[in-house]
């Protein structure tokens, strides 16, 4: 299951790298947690952190770009998306 900002410390943290443009900056890190290996996505500006497992990442890869337009466009509606 995806884990959120209050997630406990990872057991192990790989090297981080940043992806940024004028509108967002996120730090990506491969982490090992008690629940296995995850990709941690951290956006300080949005005050958000999430950890996704391979299945969840695969689901993202399968999505239509329109989904991302909806996610990007409707900030704040995340709970009811």
């Amino acid at each position: 299951m995806a884990e959120r900002a209050t997630a406990e410390q990872a057991l192990e943290r790989g090297e981080s790298f940043e992806l940024a443009n004028e509108f967002a900056a996120v730090t990506l890190t491969k982490v090992r947690t008690r629940n296995g290996v995850r990709l941690e996505i951290h956006s300080p500006r949005a005050g958000a952190l999430i950890r996704l497992d391979p299945l969840e990442l695969e689901a993202l890869a399968l999505q239509d770009p329109e989904l991302f337009t909806r996610l990007v466009g409707d900030r704040g509606d995340e709970v009811s998306a």
């Binding site: 940043e18 940024a20 443009n21 004028e22 509108f23 900056a25």
Partner: protein, 179 residues
């Protein structure tokens, strides 16, 4: 951009005679330029000089220092700098005839020794104040200089200069002055 293979830079303290030599060089160079003693200035350049003023961009903070990839306001070698000086000596260099009145303020000088080499890396801040004709509103150019000075028999020579300006749009009607 840091090159992993570049030799380390070791800070040279103010009390070191090399710091004084570099600071004197910068002051003498500014005086030569401000006093239009351009031949004296040319003599301070190493024959292999690489002189660049990159075009600066305004980009998101995460991009770090945003310089144009391959874009330069000035990109000169010894021959082209010599040609600029020669041009100013002709009767037809209108941009500098009457000459601009300039004052270069060079400060925030930090000197580094290059490990394993005799060259000195000198980083400083430049403010160039300029007035032309009877205009009373000055033009100003500000930036950071990253110089490499090479010891020669009779003193130091400028072998490399990069000036990163604080401007993305130049407020000067030309760049007929050297930075």
């Amino acid at each position: 951009m840091t090159d992993v293979h570049a030799p380390a830079l070791v800070r040279v303290p103010r009390t070191d005679e090399r710091y004084a030599a570099c600071a004197d060089f910068l002051d003498d160079e500014a005086a030569a330029l401000d006093e239009n003693r351009l031949d004296d200035w040319l003599a301070m350049l190493h024959p292999d000089i690489d002189y660049r003023v990159p075009i600066r961009l305004s980009r998101e903070r995460a991009a770090g220092l945003a310089l144009s990839e391959g874009g330069y306001h000035l990109f000169e070698d010894h021959a082209s700098l010599r040609t600029r000086v020669e041009r100013l000596a002709t009767d037809y260099a209108w941009a500098e005839d009457p000459p601009s009145r300039t004052r270069r303020f060079v400060s925030n000088v930090r000197v580094f020794a290059v490990e394993g080499e005799d060259d000195l890396v000198v980083r400083s801040a430049l403010m160039l104040y300029r007035e032309c004709l009877d205009h009373s509103r000055p033009e100003m150019l500000c930036g950071a200089r990253d110089d490499r000075l090479r010891p020669a028999e009779d003193g130091l020579r400028l072998v490399r200069r990069v000036v990163v300006l604080d401007h993305t749009v130049l407020g000067t009607h030309n760049l007929s002055v050297l930075l």
